[in-house]
């Protein structure tokens, strides 16, 4: 069976600097994979290039999603096909109401799927339901997107958006950074509730801590722009104990 996400020999340049250098990664549908790596190894670049950020130039290699080459697709086209990126640094958007923004996004995606658009009443009841599950302050959804949110509230807002948009592939870019242990647990529960045979997750993280709560099917080690080691969930524990230096030595 074709993997949901298939990345082959990917080279990516950002502002003329090569960040990813021949990265290979496959995530079958229904699986949760973690990518771990030290600072500067290319983790965030991987997240952004999957989501289609401009300025991330693919010089070699290919990204297939659902068997289709999506390397040239605009970010919105990928989102409509079910790709979601939870940002490491969610952007504050003054003057744009959270609910308004999310309703526009949901309906854009529903339109693409051939589903009828949600009206205000249906959308609000959907939001209320998800807000409660994530222990999210209901006042925040009436405020401008991420404006004045604490670090933890921003991250929870990312997960809230994910649960409302119901993607097929969710990429979580260092969602654990800046979270205290309670917030981490709430975010992890939100993700675990969404795990299903019809959905895959790519969890990108620096620390093993998050993976105690979101237990991955596979763990990959990213170093200097390439996957240098892959294994089961035990690999994360070993990395935590031994550090990234050891993994580099294995490939040397």
């Amino acid at each position: 069976m074709t993997p949901l996400l298939e990345i082959c020999g990917l080279h990516v340049e950002v502002e003329g600097r090569e960040i990813l250098r021949g990265l290979d990664l496959e995530i079958p549908l229904g699986e949760t994979h973690a990518v771990m790596g030290p600072n500067g190894s290319g983790k965030s670049t991987l997240a952004h290039v999957i989501a289609g950020r401009e300025g991330y130039e693919i010089t070699k290699g290919i990204i297939r999603y659902g068997g289709e080459d999506v390397s040239e697709l605009e970010p919105e086209e990928r989102a409509r096909k079910g790709v979601f990126l939870a940002f490491q640094y969610p952007v504050e958007i003054p003057g744009v109401n959270n609910t308004y923004f999310l309703k526009a996004a949901v309906n854009e995606i529903r339109k693409h799927r051939g589903q009828p658009e949600l009206d205000a009443v249906d959308f609000l009841s959907l939001m209320r339901d998800r807000v409660k599950l994530l222990d999210f302050d209901e006042d925040l959804i009436k405020r401008p997107v991420n404006e004045g949110f604490s670090g933890g509230e921003k991250k929870r807002n990312e997960i809230l958006q994910m649960t409302v948009l119901e993607p097929t592939l969710a990429v979580l870019d260092e969602t654990d950074s800046g979270l205290d242990i309670d917030a981490l647990r709430i975010v992890a529960e939100g993700v675990n509730r969404m795990r299903s045979p019809e959905r895959s997750f790519l969890v990108i993280t620096h620390y093993q801590r998050l993976l105690n709560h979101i237990v991955p099917d596979r763990v990959h080690v990213l170093q200097e722009g390439r996957i240098v080691e892959s294994g089961g969930s035990g690999l994360a524990l070993r990395l935590e104990a031994e550090g990234y230096g050891k993994a580099a030595a294995v490939t040397a």
Binding site: P75, A79, F87
Partner: protein, 445 residues
């Protein structure tokens, strides 16, 4: 010299002649004063450097005839939003279309005054006697009324409109809507309005200037608002004129003790405009918010001049002017705050924020502070930027298209001013303006 004399003679001949006009002599004096003080301002003057209205003095504008282009029966030809107002003054070429509808109830008096009552004093209509400005550091509280084009308006105004709200009454919203047409010759229009709020009263008023013209046109309205003790005024100004019309308008607020004014100037013109907004905080506790939004497309140009004079203790002024500029649109912001000697406890802030959507759009911004007292708080800032790439990617990564994402960010930027406008019809005009921005050549290019 002879040339100037000829221009002066031309405008003296354009003074409207009304039977029983108690200001007939004053009008002639005003024209004389205007030309004695230098006549039409040009870009060589500091205060008019970016206004680009040199053409004004070179065109021999004439009054409209005494017959409006529209007749009262044609009010259904007015734009639909005008119908949202229960109380409205509709003008065509400066002539009232619906004088019979003017309401004088619930303490609200709306007057159409082609002939000014003989009992009125020049001061009632904002005339200031020509004379010396106060010397030294003393603040000139009449400075806005000495504006050269204000003086010219005093000489040439066709109709006077007066709105009065009685003590402790709550009135409005009321619409003052002025529409002009192209009559084939360079025509000028000088509407003059006086709005008076008695102590403890409240009023929402919308002043709108509309019309299109291929032939050169000039609109030069003056509005004076006197806001009494503890009274509250919401003032909204909408500039909708298009084509070859130059707009030079002024609104002046005089605030008594604990009076409050919230003013929004919405520039939706595709021509050239210069608007001077002035607030004179004459007594303790007065508070004013001056806001503005220009949505510029094509070669539109809006020049916003503001002046806040803090003449008493513990007065507050907040200014927020925003510009969204596409294509070759140009914005000017020249904001001045004057703190008079002894005006301790003044709290003044001023912000000018600009969003440039095109390489060719331009903005000139100049904050000016004149502080002559101790123990005051004055803040100002200006920002010029483009749409945030991170925010665009964020929206697009959620499935929103490129154009839609640009539009959402522009609406968010404009919303800070638009959402505070207390009249739905005006907010929807702003939305139409945002649609024009979206449809402009440079948008998301």
């Amino acid at each position: 010299m002879r040339e100037t004399a000829a221009v002066e003679a031309h405008y003296r001949d354009e003074i409207p002649v009304r039977q029983g006009d108690p200001f007939a002599v004053r009008r002639t004096e005003a024209i004389r004063e205007f030309f004695r003080a230098g006549g039409f301002p040009t870009a060589t003057l500091e205060d008019w450097r970016f206004s680009d209205l040199d053409g004004l003095g070179r065109t021999a504008y004439r009054r409209y005839s005494d017959v409006p282009t529209l007749v009262p029966a044609q009010t259904d030809e007015l734009p639909g939003w005008v119908g949202d107002f229960g109380c409205r003054v509709l003008l065509s070429e400066g002539h009232p279309l619906n004088a019979d509808e003017f309401q004088n109830r619930n303490g609200l008096e709306v007057g159409n005054l082609p002939a000014i009552p003989a009992a009125d004093e020049p001061h009632d209509w904002g005339f200031v006697a020509p004379g010396e400005e106060p010397g030294g550091t003393e603040a000139d509280l009449d400075a806005p009324l000495r504006h050269p084009l204000e003086i010219l308006n005093a000489g040439l105004f066709e109709c006077g409109f007066r709105v009065r709200v009685g003590r402790s009454q709550d009135a409005g919203p009321i619409l003052l809507y002025s529409l002009r047409h192209d009559v084939g010759h360079p025509a000028m229009l000088h509407p003059r309005s006086v709005i008076e709020l008695a102590a403890g009263s409240r009023l929402t008023v919308v002043e709108a200037h509309d019309g299109a013209s291929e032939t050169a046109g000039w609109t030069n309205p003056s509005t004076l608002c006197r806001v009494g003790e503890n009274a509250e005024l919401f003032y909204v100004r909408v500039e909708l004129e298009s084509g070859n019309i130059a707009h030079t308008g002024r609104v002046t607020f005089q605030l008594a003790r604990n009076a409050r004014v919230r003013s929004t100037v919405l520039s939706l013109t595709d021509g050239k405009s210069r608007t001077d907004t002035a607030a004179i905080l004459t007594e303790e506790g007065a508070e004013v918010d001056l806001e503005g939004l220009f949505l510029g497309v094509d070669a539109a140009k809006a020049d916003q001049h503001t002046l806040a004079i803090h003449a008493a203790r513990h007065t507050t002024s907040r200014q927020l002017f925003k510009n969204v500029l596409s294509d070759e649109a140009t914005a000017v912001f020249d904001g001045k705050v004057v703190v008079a000697p002894g005006a301790i406890g003044t709290d003044a802030s001023q912000a000018n924020r600009n969003l440039l959507l095109s390489q060719k759009a331009a903005v000139h911004t100049r904050p000016r502070l004149e502080i002559n007292a101790d123990d005051v708080k004055c803040a100002h800032g200006a920002a010029i930027g483009r749409l945030d790439e991170d925010a665009l990617f964020y929206l697009r990564s959620r499935g929103l298209g490129r154009m839609d994402s640009h539009e959402i960010l522009v609406r968010g930027f404009a919303g800070e001013v638009v959402e505070k406008v207390p009249v739905a019809a005006v907010r929807s005009l702003a939305k139409d303006g945002l649609t024009r921005v979206r449809e402009s050549r440079s948008f998301a290019a």
